[in-house]
Structures are given as structure tokens and as C-alpha cells.
Amino acid sequence: MTQPAKLALEDGTVYTGISIGATGEVDGEVCFNTSMTGYQEILTDPSYRGQIVTMTYPQIGNYGVNDQDLESSRPHLAGFIIREHSRVASNFRSSGLLSDYLEQWGVVAIESIDTRALVKHIRTLGALRGVLSTTDLDDASLVAKAQASPGLVGRDLVQEVVPEQPCHWEEPLSEWTYLNSECGMRNAELKKGASGKRFLTPFSPHVVALDYGMKWNIPRHLADMGCEVTILPGTATAEDVLAQQPNGVFLSNGPGDPEPLAYAIETLRDLLGKQPIFGICLGHQLLSLACGAKTFKMKFGHRGANQPVQNLADQSVEITSQNHGFAVLEENLPDALEVTHRNLNDQTIEGVRHRELPAFSVQYHPEASAGPHDSHYLFQQFYESMR
């Protein structure tokens, strides 16, 4: 039998659908993602902590779930909203149904609501706090709970997803990232050995990755290029980082509002200029904040795999994967920072570079997963900067 579920928003709107995940009740900020594929990567992306994610593509679960397309050990988002869940998983790599996976990890999820209407609502009013429940089906009560939900602003969600202790990362990219054994990443130094296995070139820089809720495809990229990767929790201090004697420091993505993360900003201030730095998403915002920039909460953010970003150096356009609700503010951008990339849709800042120090960052996700591979070159750029 189908179990009803409800989504209530802080403005009083209530959607009734069917539960397809765990029973229970969750609250969070309701946002939407426009990727047509990659739901498993989205589910396991720690940046979605505190958010209830709506998929705009209506048919979700078609190819099931598998053990490879994970961006962390478990789902992190607060809740999941789709139009229709697939009863079958049709893919040779699939190991099970999406609904079973959701249930297994306790993710409350709803299907069968007018997701497009919900998306338009969010687009018009901005991201809204909401409650998703299979236990309380009283509209008034749910709306009250939505209004009581803390939202994202000013909250430190990073603490909830940082790793407990440092670790080394060795797993390379999945074979599925490569088009074939010859091409894929544009790394000229990756060559095929006699055995057909890729081998590492002599230059193997040591990268410390500060993990604020890092997607696994980032260290996979670094390892794949030949980097020695040490992961430190995002709460680490500059001394902790430098104690590793890294050739470069990577700043990861992560959930929520960057401004309350004073400890991380502090660490970055101390690290600036010491070693080359590369940041992605939250890492980009933290780097910018450390350089004196401000961030702001966007109306409903950018979440999807089709965001066009222009590289201002040569005007070329990359189609990028994005997931952010906060961005670096254009006004009062410190002179030390140069804007290197812009979003073609709304002209927001998508990448910066420090004018004097070896530090750069992008708001989007060159590690893709889910999303296009157009921006892999940034890893190469980081790699080169460590020579």
C-alpha cells in the first residue's frame, strides 16, 4: 500500500504526495536541482546537508543505485522530492532500487507531487524552509514546523559533515570517467604503461585537502593525477595543515552559509601565500572571505548540470555542474582578487584568483559527478601550480 507524505512550506503551501523513502519527518530549506541524471551523486553530496532537494526531472530511479557512483558514504540531504519513482532499476551496474536505498539510509522522500509547480514557487519566492513528513499529515501543524525550521543562514553545517580524523586518499577516478584508455582527463603526463595500466609520473605533489563535506570525486581526481592526498577535517588549523608539509592545499565544497565558519576563514588567512591553494564551491567562498570579500545568500541558488560559465581569460564557455545557494558578492570585492569566471546566465562570480599569491578557486564543480567534464582542466592548473 502506498503511504501518503506531505511537504509544507513556510508560506503555507502544502503538497500531498506518496512516501517513497523512510518514514519520519525532516525539515530544511527546500531547493531544486535541474540535472536530468545523477540523483545518486546528488543524494550523497554532503553539500546538501540541511536541504530538501527537489529534482526537476520527473523520472527518477530509472537506473537504480550502485556502489560506485557515491560522493560520500551516505546520503546527507534532509529530504528528497521527485515526480515519479521507477519501480524497476534498469542498468547493468545497478545493485538495487532507489526507494530501498532511501529507506535503508533513513531518507524521507516524496513522489507524485507537481514538482514543476513547486520549482516555480521557489523560483518566484526564493528558497523556502519546509517540512517533509510521513508521520504528521496535519497541514497547519506542518506549516508551523516549517516556519520554525532554522534555515541555513548563519548556521555552521560543516561541523555536521567533516570527517572525524585525517586520512590518506588513494582511490582513483572510476573507469567510467574516462571516455577510453587514451583520453578523458587532459593530463598529458598520464600515459599507458606496457601492462595497459596508467602509471604515475615522477612528480607526485602532496596535497592536503581541507574537507568541509568533500565530494569523493575531488580526491579521486587529485589521486588520479598523481597527487599524494591527505584529507584533514575542515576544522583543522593552519599549523595542522603545514605540519603535513604539503605542496598544495585544496579547499573542498561543503554545506550551507560560509560566513559563520570563522575558524576555517582564519585557517585560510594563515595559509595564504604559504603554498598554492585551490578551492571549489564552499572552498571558493571561504578563500574569498579570507581575502576580504563578502558572500550573500542567493534567491534560490544554482543547482544543476547545465550552468554555463565563461572563462574571462579567453571567453570560452564551460558547461558546469553547480550546487550553491550562497555566492561571493560583486560589490567590495577586494583588489587582491581578480574575477576569472562568470556565470553566463546571471553574471555572478564563478571563479577568482589572487593577484599576487598562488591561490584560485571556482564556485562550480570541476570534479563534475554529477555533471559535465568540461572543467577538468582546473585540476591540471592546480597540479601545475604545485611544481
Binding site: 536530468m36 526537476t56 526531472y57 551496474r93 577510453n180 554555463p308 565563461q310
Partner: protein, 1119 residues
Amino acid sequence: MPRRDDLHKILLIGSGPIIIGQACEFDYSGTQACKALREEGYEVVLVNSNPATIMTDPATAQRTYIEPLSWEVVAKVIEVERPDALLPTLGGQTGLNVAMDLVKHGVLEKYGVEMIGANADVIDKAESRQRFKQAMASIGLEVCRGQVVTTLEDARASIDQIGLPAVVRPSFTMGGSGSSIAYNRQEFDELVLRGLDLSPITEVLIEESILGWKEYEMEVMRDADDNVVIICAIENFDPMGVHTGDSITVAPAQTLSDKEYQRMRDASLAVIREIGVETGGSNIQFATDPGSGRMIVIEMNPRVSRSSALASKATGFPIAKIAAKLAVGYRLHELPNDITRETTACFEPTIDYVVTKIPRFAFEKFPEADDTLTTQMKSVGETMAIGSTFKESFQKALRGLEVGSFGFGSDGSDLWGTSEQPDETEIRAKLSRPCPERVWYLRYAILSGFSVDQIHELTRIDRWFLDNLLEIVETEQKIRACGGWDQLSPELLRTAKRQGFSDRQLAMILHTTELEVRARRLELGIVAVFKSVDTCAAEFEAYTPYYYSTYETEDEIPPKEKRRETRDAGRELEGKKLESRTIMILGGGPNRIGQGIEFDYCCCHASFAMRELGIESVMVNSNPETVSTDYDTSDLLFFEPLTVEDVLNICDRVKPDGVIVQFGGQTPLNLARALKSAGVPIIGTSVEAIERAEDREKFQQLLNKLGLRQPKNGIARTMEQARRITAEIGFPILVRPSFVLGGRAMEICYDKGQLEKYVSEAFLVAQGQPVLIDRFLEGATEVDVDAICDGTHVVVPGIMEHIEEAGVHSGDSACAIPPYSLPGPVVREIRDATAKLARELNVVGLMNVQFAVRWEEAQNMKEEMQEQPGSQPALRASRLPVIYVLEVNPRASRTVPFVAKATGMPVAGIAAKVMVGVSLAEQGVTNDPIPSHVSVKESVFPFIKFTGVDIVLGPEMRSTGEVMGISPRFSIAFAKSQMAAGCLLPKEGNIFISVAKRGKESIVDLAHRLAILGYSLLATEGTAAVLKQAGISSRRVRKIREGHPNLIDFLTDGEVALVMNTPSGKGARTDEGRIRAAAVQAGVPCLTTIEAATAAVMAMEAMREEEIGVLSLQDRFAT
């Protein structure tokens, strides 16, 4: 740098007539390109032989040439126009091939014409199997294992490595023409020989078979700065082995994980870069092994294609328009996204709905053809539907197909539960062989208890699709089990509607009426809402009013006042006045034989006319290939099936002040009565008048009243009645089912045997409607007339004399404007009769009348007079012409665009304005146009796709498209029309003549003239004797049954340049049928009527006297 200022004049080549594999989509892409280039200030020169296109309207390009698409003719256009550049990638394979020929023959070099978009080397690299394979290997992509060969010996050697089954693909053919799968060595040899022959460069590719793999298509765009984006990924429902044009396809891809999708995306980017398409769109096809994910590149089209038209309609991204702008230097990010306005064209569309395309076939017209779907395309049209889920879009597409189904079965049209219900053996057989009916057998299989896995094993269709179909059937069974109409819960009703069930299906399942279901639905508030196609899944606000229906909660159509504001804002710039009325135009649905681009042309013009008058225009159509479904064509576009339910749903929201049903062919006319009963305001000619013209008895009364004559006729509801009527009116008779377009099951019977056979077939097709029986007027000349009437005044823009005699379907016959042989008084009488009919029927809009003129003995004007074969001018002296009315259709006809192009009068637009109350006088249209030149329309047939089918013309229409030849002389106009239709009249060589008894006397004159022109004649015994008697020498060839070498051997050896063969019998198994079929396969033109042969001889004579010249429409109509 954006726009290139060094270019001023750009040449576009269209795709010619509608044929299988090349349909309206190239009118859509070409029209978009013309508009886009003009918008940028370039002068556009267009060459296309197809008059039924929007692109060949004199207003679309600045210089329009309706001329044959051969490089020689296009070279003449280039010589006259001296364009700076040629954009070859928007006119399908035909346009691309002509462009390549121009390069090969040095024409572009000679006149300094630059190829933009893709240059010759790029095109060659993409299309040459060998070069493509090397290119893929160089970027590490796998292609199908295969080998290119040019001889049968090499081919045989290749299968030792490749193995059987193997695919045989001829190089450089269109629509995969000639590609087939060989399962054994004998088949293999046959296919290789045929393939070598079909290939213009005598080359075939032998490939490993990847039957049953999953098939995908990626639509890719690239700009001059190397920015590349994917517009759409399409997944084929039917696995590899079925041509993508014949497959059900779905967008976006459904069963690829992000990892696999991105890998395919990377491959697409690598392919377009490696092949080097500088700017524009390309289509890349992939196959993946469902068991391992191994991916293979199948092919790439370095141009816009049928799939890109589908992708444009599926996503809202106008590929052709953007491709044209990229070709003149713009970069993707410099072009706006029309739909969101604020963002640019440099992005990848994301959609929040599911699109299903289903092909439409015409095998009923070719009963002898094999209906197995293979790698050679056989469908003649397609329909597309948009829904929130696959289930919804799939069921909508099935009812949009207009084959009598209203969804996935349970609609009163399927075999389940009838005496013809298939058994398991039959189901199994149907599932394992792809054919047009397979989709219905999927349902029967489910109902028979086959599991998804079992069906998958038989069909290789992905389990995800199959499970969705299973869910539809489960819902059907739940509804059936609910205990009756009164018991159906609102929840289940809503679920069913959300899964795409039509009211008709629900009514059939629960034994109630469609209207009852609708009423209950409305009462419960279960109503269709309309959502936008916006390229961005609602991330940005959409400004383009392009909608689809679905059963969700929120409707997105702005209220009328708001819409008007938006229109006002746009119109102010154009200085046009605005009207408050909203007029809805119902389109023609999927292309089929008998109803195609001509009606889309009319619908577009109706829409343009409304916009010109400041009236809000609303288009409803389900055919993704068309200009009418371009979001630019109308103020509101609804991509919806054309059924009463779907149209009423739109009317509920839009509240039109008028609905035009007479422009979209039979499809909307069939809805007229039901729409009117539901209170929809049908404008123009009344539904009653339409019925008066269609109803035999009422029509007879009408003609009697007006003193007009018609062939003796009767209506039969039973076989017995048919026999009685035939006895009364006498043989020969013409038999046809009523209310069917395109002459379906229409036959001429000369004797009782034929009567029994064809009448019973007609009853089958008529589906309960009566069968019409007419005396067949042998030897008569048919005349088609198109007229516009505003209820008071009548204008007759086109009187077309058919070249083939009565008995050949008007859609298949060649015809000329003005009449080339009829005397003036006859033409005037026909004109007057037309006007009388129009006034009597109170026609408001367009009307088409078919007349037959027969020369009959003056003293014996009775219709029972003895038949005389032939109607040569010499014999006419002692006789008088008698005019018969065959048919009146108070609606737009297939010939409207031809008439418009022949006369320069925008016929459809004038008629549309009449329909909204602007009289002919108010429009300043009071006189019939007098054409300044002769225009000949010729039909184009798909016989090459249906091996072995007899090509004799008859009352059942079988042509897919048309071309036009224009010249001051009839003979040259006819020659051009033949050239444009691909019927190359030879300048020298052997001409085979074989005529039935009836034509023997007329052939003597023709043979004599051919001999004078220096042709050698070949003839079989009987004809040779007749010629000899007249003193004409010919070489005798054996009949097929007389052994070898016979004519077929001559044909195969390329020793015959032209065949003139008129039938005495018909059918693929007769000797002459085999000869005609062999001529088609050998690419030798074949004329099957004395009239066409006569015109052809005139043309061959004329071509000796003068060279073919070209002149633009703008120049033709300048005076």
C-alpha cells in the same frame, strides 16, 4: 568577432520533395535559417524544388528559386546571383549532396563561393565510412567492426572476420537507404550487389551486427570558438536494428546513469571536434551494449536532421536558427535564448517532462511491401507528445498517431477481446520481428501473462520502458476491476489521467461515453493543465508561449489580458493594430500519404494571416517536423494530439473566438462535428456545408439543383447493394470507402471478379461507413480547381489540368497551371461551375473541386455511350467536351501551396482572412490571377524504399511529395518537373516501349518522334510489330517468360535510359510489374501512362531547342 561583415549574400539549398527520410523538418530548418539570416541583414538566395514549403514563399528569402535540385541548375543560380557563401547544412542530405557536387565540379571555386558551417572536407570526413572510422580510431572511440568494400569479392572476404548476421550499408545514401541486415550468405550477396548499385560511389560498408543494443542520439552544437553544447539526448525505445526514423524515441535519455551519460557527452564533443564541423548542429548516434556498457559510435550527420527538428521541439532550443547564426560568425554566448530572454544560447537545455516520438507508417498503401522494420527507413511521418511522465507522453503520442487508437489499447480499436485476439505463438512471432504493429503486441503480451523479462528477451526493448507499459496495463485492469463507472474512485480516475489515459479509453473500459467521462472529470476538478516548454525546467521565467497538457495542479497559461499585453509590447514595434479575438488553428498531425506538408503550409499561413490582422493566433498540432510547431509561428503553440478531448481541453483554457478546421486536412475536419456539438465556434464554411459536400445524397441534390453533371453513382452499405448498383451503372466502376483521404482502398473495377475483391476491401477500410461506387470515366481529363469564397464573391486562383487521365489519384497525377490542352470555353465553364458550387454551399474560405472533362459524341451525349480508348486531340474534332463534377471539398486542398507559387497569390492567407470576416473586396482580391508562365507539379513516390512493389499509378494515392517546374513553355516546365522529381529524361540511349492494347495507336506517334530525336527503341514482340507496321524500327527484346536476355537483364546492365510501360495488368507478380519494379531499383525513369509519355516526348523535344534557364519567383512576379 561576431557577425561576419564580409558576407552579404548567402545561398541556401533546400531538401526538395517530401520523401521517406526527408520530410517537413527541412522546411522547418530552412525557414528558420532564412529568417535568422535576414534578421542579421544578409540577402538570402534559396533554391528548392518543393512548392509546398514555407521556405519557398516569396517572402521567406529575398531571392527564391523553385528549380530542380541538381548541381547544374544550382550552378546557374549561382551564376546569376553570385552569392558570397553557401550554407549547406540546413537542407538535409539532398542539400548537402548538391553542395558536394558543386564543389566537385568546381562551381564554388569558379564563382568564389565560400562554404560556411561545414566545408566539403568536413562533410566528406563525416560521411565517408572509411574516413569516419579512421577519425574515430584516432580519438580512441570504438566503431562497429566493419570494412568498406567496392566489390562483391571483397565483401565476401570481409565476412570471414565480421561474421553473420552482418549489416550492409551503401555509402552516401539518404535515410539509410539500402541498408539491410544479412543473415545468410545468399542474402548477403544480394544485399551487397544492391548496395553497390544504390551507392552513388559504388561503395558499401559491411559491419558487425549490433542488433538489440541500446541506441542513443546526441544533438550537438558548436561555435567558431569551439564552445560545444549538447542540446538533447534521445533514447530509442526500439533497440538497434530499427532505423532511428522508424523507432519510437524518447527524450531525454532514460536509462543512462550520469557516469554513462557524461561519457557519451564527452564522446560527442570529441567527435564534433575531430570531424571538424566548424559551426552549427550535428547529430551523433551511439549504441551501447546493455550488458557491459560498451559504447560504439554509429554515425554522425554534420548537419541539422530530422532528429534535430525533434530535439528543437522537445527542448524549445531552435537548433536551425542558432546554427544559421553561428555560421555567420556569432558565438553561442552572443546569441540570446529567446525563451528566457535573459540568458544566452550557450547552455544545455534541461527538461522537466518526457517526450515520446512515434513514427507513422503507410504499409497499407503498399500491401506487397515487407513491413519488417530494418536499418532502412520506411515511415512516412511521425507524431510527438509531451507529458509529465513517459507513460503520459507515450499514451498521448499513440493517440496523436491518428491510427484509430486513443492510447495504449483498451480503446475499442485493438484486437484484444475480439475474435481476432492473437494467441501466444502469434504474439511471440510479432514481438521478435520489429514491425509497425509491434507496439500493440507488447500490450497483448502483457495481457497474455508474459513477464517483462520474457518480453525483453524477445524484443530487447529496455525493461524500464516495458515496466512502464506494464504499469499502464495494470492501471487499466484496476479500472476494469473497480466494478463499474459509478464505482470508479476519483483517485483512480486521477491516476489514470496522469498516466495518459484518454476519456475514450476510460469510456470503453467502463462501458460509458466519452462525454460522460469528461463531464465527471470536470465535476471532480480533474482537468488538464498546461505547462511551458522552457528549455530550463522552470529555473528561469519563460516568455515563449509553447505548451503541453498534463494532469498536474498548476496551469501556466497567462490570462487573456496578460497575453494581450505581451503581444502589444511586441506589436507596437511593428506598428500593427491589435484585435481582441483569439483564433485557433487545428493542424494536420503526423505526415502520411495524402496528408502532409501542404496542409501544414496552409495552417502556417492561417496563423500568419491572424497575426497580420492583430488577432491572437493559437496553433494545435502534434507533428514535430513542421513549421507550424515552431514557437515563432503562432502567438500560442499547443503541442497536443488532435483529438476531440485534447482540443476541448485547450478550448476550455484559451476560450477561442473561432476555430479553423479547414486547413489541416482531414484530421481537423473529422473533429469538426464533435467540436461544434460541444459548443466550439467553428469558423468559415459551416459544418453542415462540409457534410453536404461529403454526403452523397445531399451532394447529388445540390448538383441537380445547379444543373451540374456527375458520373453515375450509388452508395452501398452491403455487398449485395454494391452488385445491384454496379449492374445499374455498368463497368468500369470506381470503388472507394467514404470519409477517407488519400484514396485509401480506392480501385477501378472492370469486371465482376474485381468488383467482389475491391468492394469487400473497401468495406473493411470504411469501418462501418458506406462504400461509394461511381461510374469510371475512362479516358477523361481530370481538372483540379482551388477557389476562395467569402460567401458572396468567388475568386478562382487555380485551375489545374492533370497530365495523367482520370483514374489516377489527383495527389499522384502531374498537373499544370494554366491548363495546357483544354479549350478556353471549357476552362471558363469549369470556373463558372466552381463559383456556383461555392455560392450554393455558402463557402467561407477555401474550396477544392475535382472535375473530369470527357470528349463525347455530340449526337450521343448519353453517359452510356461506348467507351473509346484514348482522347487524342485529333479525335476530339467530332466530339464535344462534357464536364463532370467528381468531388467538392470545402476545405484547403493539397494543391493550395502549388497554386500560390504558380500564381503569386497568397491563397491560404486570403482564405484565412475571409474566414475571420475580411471580405475579398476588403482585401482587394477581386480577380482571378492570370499566370504569366506555366507551372507543372509532379509527384514523387517512395517506391525505391519498397523493393519489388509495382509502381503503376491508380486511384489510391501513394506519392509522398511533390516538385514544381516553371517555365514560359509547358514542355520545359514539364521537363523541369521531371528533373526535379528525379526522373531524368535521357538525352540519348535506348528507350524501352511496351504499351497495353489500349495505347498502341497513340504510341506510334511518340515512337516516331523519339526515333527522329535519335533514340534507339526497344520493344517486346507485340509493340515491335505495331511499330514496324508504321515503319518505325525497333530492337526486339524478350519478355521475362521468354528467357534471357530479357528486359530486366538490359535494365540491370544499364542499357536502358527510359522505360515507357503502360499497364494492362497490375501487381508485383505480373511480368510488367516486375519490369517496372526493376526499373525503379535500377534507377531508370519509368513512365506508366500514355499522357506522361506524351508530355515527356514533348519535353525531350523542347530540351533540344532550348537550355533550361532559372528565374527567381520575385522576378517572375515582378511585373
